[in-house]
Amino acid sequence: MALAERILDGDIRAAARLMRNIDDNLPSSRGELQELYSHTGRAFLIGVTGPPGAGKSTLVDQITAAYRKQGKRVGVVAIDPTSPFTGGAILGDRIRMNRHAEDEGVFIRSLATRGHMGGLSRSTADVANVMDAMGMDVVIIETVGVGQDEVDIVRLAHTTLVVMVPGMGDDIQAIKAGILEIGDLFVVNKADRDGADKTARELNLMLEMNRYAPGAWRPPVLRTEAQRNVGVEELVGKMDEHHRWLLESGEINQLLQEKNTSLFQTLLKERLFAEVYGGVARSGKLSEILEGMLSREQDPYSAVEQILAERLSP
């Protein structure tokens, strides 16, 4: 039986294997994803981002527990960086989530960035889709957490959570350019530490400077202690509120439009490049071009134009 069929039958090993095939970019995974696509679109996708060590995984663990209490099935995709020197990775987000390992209503998958920039792996959207097809009601995605230019998550999640810690005032100033735009909710975690109020106030102040049209979503700033499970119920309530707002205001259409456009663009780019570049390399044309460039007899601009004309002319 094909993997997609087994996944829809509830086979966990098949789901785990397809995720791996997606991650390893096996051509067969595309067919399986085609099969699954019509079974996706039901899950509520939550993105969790923020600087390293802010408590993202601990928070994801608590959010997972809160949704489980509501009887919802939860998928988690946790991304950690690949070492650029060795290609290896230590994926450690699971350490904080081990208590859910035996719960059949929870599926956790760790992914390495494998050189992909922007806080996610190339495979993240597709892996989240598999979890969606598995029937997960909520899929939580924890980004690498470099803090900056993690914009990819906004294109993937319905609701994006930015996790900060007390005493980050100066850092907020430094990274505010990106961070203020991506959060639908802001969390000052480790509120047991000094300065949580101050950080929350500063965040609120900066958010005030944005103008909000009537009916627009004004990102709330919440305080949590993920480790002791303080403030998590409220946080989950706010996330659900944002989700409801998306649906009721019709904003969801705009979001899905952007999300689907971005997904389609990425797919097309990837496949077109692989196809065209692969052809050029295999035919020996690539080495010709490179030689030409070295002697300056061939410029890369017209080489690209020529290839495009050859490949795309009807």
Binding site: A16, M19, D24, S83, G88, I95, N98, A101
Partner: protein, 133 residues
Amino acid sequence: MSERKLRILVGKPGLDGHDRGAKIIARAFRDAGFEVIYTGLHQTPDQIVSAAIQEDVDCIGLSILSGAHNTLLPRVCQLLKEKKAEDIILFCGGVIPEDDIPGLKAAGIKEVFTPGASTDQIVTWVKNNIIPR
């Protein structure tokens, strides 16, 4: 471009708090280019097997220095069989008396590394014995 990446789960079963060895091994595996899912301390055999299945790893490397290897490790093997995941190879390391090794191997543990084993030796064993599926 597609290439199978070797995925390994490294964890510590039971109440054993000695994690230096496990961390050193996890780093050595990363430096060898593997993807290591590090699950940390105090794992039950059930947690280990569930995590291994969800993560679709090729193998599980467990570290035990507490002396509880004769009960915990065969239990992991048994659970892998029950969940039809015996294709996931189990190996281990730690303070394990020579005399216990044949019994562990008979229970399905593929290899046992004791104090003094070099990380090179361990990485080489993995490369020679685990083929990413």
